[in-house]
């Protein structure tokens, strides 16, 4: 959820730049800032843009609810643009942007990923659903030009607020588009993946976002603390255990969200209350879920929000779009290349013109046709858009690829050949020398890490590498990827990172994309990666220690992919036990990690078994 802000700023700059030669929004819309009262009396700051040409014409409302400020504030202060995309702005809608409860100019108290209250008893029982309901109600009654229909949209954290309107939705809400929605912060979105804490992003994000306020503010002022570094790997290693992040020079207890994160290190009531998926039952509102395959923040949220609605709502009208995108770039003007990828077409323009605009126009204006396909996904590797009637596709066949001796990855299970029983690969995971998540020196997260060449990791002794022979024909996977590891460790806890990689052939020409000239022959392109904190292998609620030296099963679900491994490529899997500083270091000792001190961090020897008794595999959803 962090990056979006940067993108917003960037697009603001762009559009403000354009504004000098004419701000379309300012020329065509009247801006009105107002405070809308909720059922408990708290007033939310709401910015409304009404088309100037509304001589009796009725328009639908398109609303975004945001924790990142609805500003600039004041009836005369216009942003460069508003709404999901420029085409919709020119279509003429009534656009509404609202500061959510407790943020910026709205009254009340903000809660991190506000829990949904299913059985509201009094007017004091408020949540994002009720706030949206009350806002919609007010808008329908007070903005005369509305046509009685309303849509919601939002990317990242605002994506969560879009999702959050769905349970108990106001009947006038006719179209919702949660995009990269924050969905489950313990299992797969920004804060944690399978219980492993995403240190790098959150440490910098909460420095600004996690700041408390005394009442409504236009500006939160300076960050909680000021710190200078340009090598995140070294900075976080030097900072030491996560506990030190609350030291006097850093958070010092001043961020309520940061404190909550450190307090809740299991999938407890705090996190479960913040899993919106459980409430996405019987959702009939037309919903377009959007996400990016290279979204480092909310790839999980997009896939799982779609899944939750699709599987828990018999009469659902949910649709899914996934493109070759990083966080939020589907809203940018052009997206044809990324890292060493060249997608061959402008994927963001395609999305805006042919999917997003069509979706809102149809449901809110009765204009045009509905989106024809349940699922529209960009297939990486072959670089083409594909349509599916369901996701994951029913024709996908889970196909195990087994880890084997000598770094082989094979479609046949290991057999106990003479002397081959008790076969394993082994490495030492040293928390003082964690495996970098990216190659090079970066201050913030290297946004390209999700498509990065993994050769820097393959050369390390603490990264296991398994690969197939060269593929004899194209192989496309579509759907869930599951790693079944059988491991032992000399410690009592360990992280496991599994990376699925597409190895390009040795005759691949050098890159012509932004990283011009990069040697692509033998390039180890990351397709999908995921981490699990080992103690959660059986339950996220009840962590369990490993018994040193004893084989344990660790099952890890990676986020979905739709990818073609081309003929002549190889499929590679890397396994490692750190991914730093993207993820905080596991002390490799069973304990509450936020309480760990320097001396708790220990080296561990980790084995990955690959024999007939304890086979390890990765299950790929192979499409015919």
């Amino acid at each position: 959820m962090q990056r979006l802000i940067l993108i917003c700023f960037a697009s603001l700059y762009l559009t403000t730049g354009c504004a000098q030669s004419g701000n379309y929004l300012k020329e065509n819309y009247i801006k009105m800032d107002t405070l809308i009262p909720m059922r408990d009396g708290v007033k939310l700051y709401t910015v409304i843009f009404i088309p100037k040409d509304s001589n009796g014409t009725q328009y639908p409302i398109l609303m975004e609810r945001t924790p990142y400020s609805a500003g600039p504030y004041g009836n005369k202060s216009y942003p460069g643009s508003t709404g999901p995309n420029a085409a919709l702005m020119k279509e003429h809608y009534i656009f509404v942007v609202q500061d959510v409860r407790g943020r910026y100019m709205s009254e009340g108290v903000n809660l991190e990923v506000t829990p949904y209250i299913a059985d509201k008893k009094t007017n004091k029982d408020v949540d994002e659903s009720s706030d949206t309901y009350d806002t919609v109600d007010w808008l329908l009654k007070n903005i005369q030009q509305n046509n009685g229909r309303l849509g919601l949209h939002g990317v990242s954290y605002p994506g969560f607020y879009a999702t959050a309107c769905l349970p108990g939705a106001h009947p006038a809400i006719k179209a919702v588009s949660p995009q990269a929605p924050v969905t489950d912060e313990f299992i797969g979105d920004d804060a944690n993946h399978n219980g492993a804490f995403f240190l790098l992003d959150n440490f910098s994000f909460m420095n600004y976002f996690g700041k408390e306020r005394k009442g409504p503010v236009k500006d939160y002022g300076s960050n909680i603390f000021n710190v200078q570094y340009n090598d995140a790997y070294r900075f976080f290693l030097k900072m030491g255990p996560v506990k030190n992040s609350n030291g006097p020079q850093y958070y010092n207890g001043k961020s309520y969200i940061w404190n909550e994160y450190l307090q809740h290190d299991t999938y407890d009531a705090y996190w479960k209350a913040r899993n919106i998926r459980q409430h996405l039952k019987n959702i009939g509102t037309p919903t377009l879920v959007v996400g990016g395959w290279f979204d480092a923040e909310n790839l999980f949220g997009a896939l799982r929000t779609y899944e939750a609605i699709a599987t828990q709502s018999p009469n659902n009208q949910v649709q899914l779009v996934m493109g070759p995108w990083t966080h939020g770039v589907w809203g940018s003007g052009e997206w044809t290349k990324f890292g060493t990828h060249d997608f061959g077409s402008n994927t963001s323009k395609f999305f805006q013109d042919s999917l997003e605009t069509v979706f809102f126009n149809y449901h809110l204006k009765d204009k045009g046709q509905p989106l024809a396909h349940k699922v529209t996904l960009f297939q990486t590797g072959s670089n083409e858009w594909k349509r599916f009637a369901a996701w994951p596709p029913t024709q996908a066949k889970p196909t195990p690829y087994y880890f084997d001796q000598d770094g082989k990855l094979s479609s046949t299970a290991p057999t106990n050949k003479l002397g081959a029983s008790n076969s394993f690969s082994e490495y030492i995971s040293d928390p003082n020398k964690p495996v970098p998540y990216t190659n090079g020196v970066f201050r913030g997260r290297n946004n390209e890490y999700m498509v990065e060449d993994q050769r820097f990791a393959a050369s390390r002794p603490d990264v296991l590498v398994f690969e197939t022979e060269e593929l004899k024909e194209d192989m496309t996977i579509g759907g869930n990827i599951v790693a079944n590891l059988q491991v032992s460790t000399t410690g009592t806890d360990a992280d496991f990172i599994v990376k699925l990689i597409d190895v390009l052939p040795n005759n691949e020409p050098a890159s012509k994309t932004p990283i011009r000239g990069y040697p692509m022959a033998g390039f180890q392109r990351l397709v999908r990666a995921e981490v699990i904190r080992g103690k959660f292998r059986n339950s996220f609620e009840k962590p369990e220690p490993f018994v040193p030296g004893k084989v344990a099963k660790v099952k890890l679900q990676l986020n979905d992919a739709l990818h073609t491994f081309k003929k002549g490529h190889k499929i590679m899997v890397q396994v490692q036990s750190s991914w730093f500083p993207l993820v905080d270091r596991n002390p490799q000792k069973f304990m509450r990690i936020p309480d760990a001190t320097e001396k708790d961090f220990q080296r561990a020897t980790i084995r990955l078994y690959h024999d007939a008794k304890n086979p390890s595999s990765i299950e790929l959803p192979v499409l015919k």
Partner: protein
């Protein structure tokens, strides 16, 4: 050694077209110089191909600058001019009327005879016996007698392999030879130059170079040999996937004589000693100017140590040393020497060398003009402070050798470790640091995926290595004041390993402060690419020792597994200031790939062992008062 050869070819290729047509200097050279080509007969009747560029103006007598090369004196043909004459500082010599002679050495390109790599000097040759010194003698003799209008004063210079031929020229003792400048001279291919460092085999350079250069040349030719066509742009992957050295021998076949010799002589035996020029530089007659680069990936050792050998064996010789912040040959017209990789030097050091040192040197001895009083005994550029220092000797007399002690927790300090009373032994801190060296996952010598060995690795950011579990790092606190080093660095490691052999790589690193940034006005613009310099870990010097040679390069010895063993290693000299606020870091690792071949970590014949012989080894570096590993620094503080 390789790159200059390639460079000349590259210059020839790119300059022949455009530069020759448009470069003002090229037009001037053609208007004022004639080129002639000659087969000069040696004492044994073999004829060496020699190109002579002489001024058309016959009014005055000129000195001869002579360069002997195995990389071809091309372009061939009297109407084809060598682009170095007008695209480099050589134009200065031409403008002063120097005669330039370039000769293909015996057995290479258009010269007759048989080539022998680093042909041994024969101090007792008789009659028609030859070596490179006699070939130079005969060539000089012919030049002074046959080139019109020469002043009977000859200078020889050459970079890299031609630097070796310059050293050999100095041994010719021809009376007309007045001045010699061996530059990055190939000097000792077992101890420190291109193909071995302390017995460790420099695989990547040796294989790529000899796959082309080492091919037989049955008769004179103008054609360049082709190197082995490596089909992947990823050298780490290529060299690792090929495995043991014998697999590389198989790729090359049996026709590459010098490769075969390398495989036959794993130790510093009599064969190598005959090829170590330092053993022969007694009582040299000409004035000597030894030149080298502090960051020369190929022959840094040769420059430092040839100078020292001449000092020791020719005490009366006018012998001077120049070391600048240069990659291989940077001083000779490749770039301006103001930066290397990410590190900046603040001034155009190559131009300084050419105009203030080399040209005055030759002018004084060959043209009897000017003075050499401004050229010091040792002219050394100190990086860090980015200043030339004119010194009376090298290493400077003021140097004190101070041990920097390795300590637990990755610390490095001048303070001695406390001695523990027997009663306190249980309380003493961890006294070794351990890593596992796995030959299947060798430590890369540099960070990026690429094919050709980079020249920048010598100043590269070592942060990529610091992050690895098989690289130990030891770091001082931020320095309270500048520390300047001038001289050799010695590592005294106390080790134990679980196998019978291992390599030890020691890297001396300057850690820049976290808020460090270059100032373009003061430091220069550098390479023009953004790089995060805060916290930069600049390699100042790295060196490797193949552990079996720890006591003797002649007689390898196995390690006893688990037994505490001292390993001493001398790093080539450094000239560097660690500035106040910087830190000194030492990294220790046991591979440096594919710069250096992998050690199987067993005491086996490395050049003929099998892939299965490569095994992991657990390596300990001890650092307590009893077993104190340390780095001895040549500290030059006022």
């Amino acid at each position: 050694m390789k790159k200059v050869g390639l460079l000349l070819i590259a210059i020839a290729a790119c300059c022949l077209g455009k530069a020759q047509m448009t470069n003002e200097d090229s037009i001037w050279v053609r208007e004022h110089y004639n080129k002639t080509e000659h087969l000069v007969t040696m004492r044994d009747g073999v004829r060496l191909f020699t190109a002579v560029y002489a001024p058309k103006d016959a009014a005055r007598k000129s000195p001869i600058l002579f360069n002997r090369t195995p990389y071809s004196c091309s372009p061939y043909g009297t109407d084809q001019f060598n682009p170095r004459l007008y695209t480099t500082y050589w134009i200065n010599y031409l403008k002063m009327g120097y005669i330039i002679a370039i000769q293909d050495v015996r057995g290479k390109y258009m010269s007759e005879g048989d080539f022998e790599d680093i042909r041994p000097f024969n101090p007792t040759k008789k009659d028609k016996e030859i070596d490179e010194a006699s070939d130079t003698y005969d060539a000089i003799d012919w030049l002074v007698k046959n080139v019109p209008n020469n002043n009977n004063r000859v200078g020889v210079f050459g970079i890299s392999y031609p630097g070796f031929y310059a050293t050999m020229a100095a041994l010719s003792s021809h009376p007309a030879l007045k001045a010699v400048s061996p530059q990055a001279p190939v000097t000792d291919w077992f101890q420190g130059d291109d193909f071995h460092h302390n017995g460790a085999f420099m695989l990547m350079d040796a294989f790529s170079f000899y796959s082309g250069f080492g091919k037989p040349r049955p008769q004179p030719t103008t054609e360049h040999p082709q190197e082995y066509p490596i089909t992947t742009p990823d050298n780490y992957n290529f060299y690792l996937s090929k495995g043991a050295i014998r697999n590389f021998s198989a790729l090359l076949g049996d026709s590459i004589r010098f490769w075969n010799d390398l495989m036959k002589h794993p130790d510093n035996d009599a064969w190598w000693k005959a090829r170590n020029t330092r053993n022969f530089v007694n009582n040299l007659k000409p004035a000597m100017l030894v030149v080298g680069g502090l960051f020369d990936a190929e022959d840094c050792f040769g420059a430092w140590n040839l100078y020292k050998a001449i000092e020791a064996k020719s005490p009366r010789t006018d012998n001077r040393l120049v070391m600048g912040p240069w990659f291989h040959g940077a001083w000779g017209g490749r770039g301006d020497g103001s930066f290397l990789g990410n590190v900046r030097f603040g001034s155009k050091t190559s131009e300084y060398y050419q105009q203030e040192i080399e040209i005055p040197f030759f002018n004084f001895y060959l043209n009897l003009q000017g003075t050499v009083s401004d050229i010091a005994e040792a002219n050394i550029f100190f990086t860090g402070q980015n200043q030339w220092q004119k010194l009376k000797q090298w290493p400077p007399a003021e140097v004190t050798y101070k041990p920097l002690l390795l300590k637990g927790g990755g610390r490095l300090s001048f303070e001695p470790n406390p001695l523990f009373k027997p009663a306190d032994l249980a309380k003493r801190p961890v006294y070794f640091t351990q890593y596992t060296s796995n030959p299947q996952k060798p430590v890369p010598y540099t960070e990026d995926v690429h094919l050709d060995r980079t020249r920048e690795y010598m100043t590269d950011d070592q942060r990529f290595a610091s992050r690895r579990p098989d690289v130990l790092t030891f770091t001082t606190d931020a320095l309270p004041s500048d520390i300047t080093l001038g001289g050799p660095v010695v590592a005294n490691l106390i080790t134990s390993i679980t196998t019978t052999d291992a390599d030890f790589v020691v890297k001396l690193i300057d850690v820049f402060p976290d808020d460090f940034a270059y100032d373009a006005a003061k430091d220069g613009k550098g390479i023009g690419k953004e790089y995060p310099m805060g916290g930069y870990q600049m390699l100042v010097r790295g060196e490797i020792l193949r552990g079996r040679y720890r006591n003797s390069l002649e007689k390898p010895e196995p390690f006893t597994p688990g037994s505490i063993t001292p390993v001493n290693l001398t790093l080539p000299d450094v000239a560097h200031t660690f500035k106040k606020g910087h830190k000194i870091m030492v990294q220790i690792q046991s591979s440096w790939f594919p710069l250096v071949d992998r050690n199987p970590q067993q005491f086996v014949d490395i050049y003929h062992c099998a892939d299965a012989d490569f095994v992991p080894s657990d390596i300990r570096i001890y650092h307590d008062a009893r077993n104190q590993s340390k780095i001895i620094l040549p500290v030059l503080n006022k």
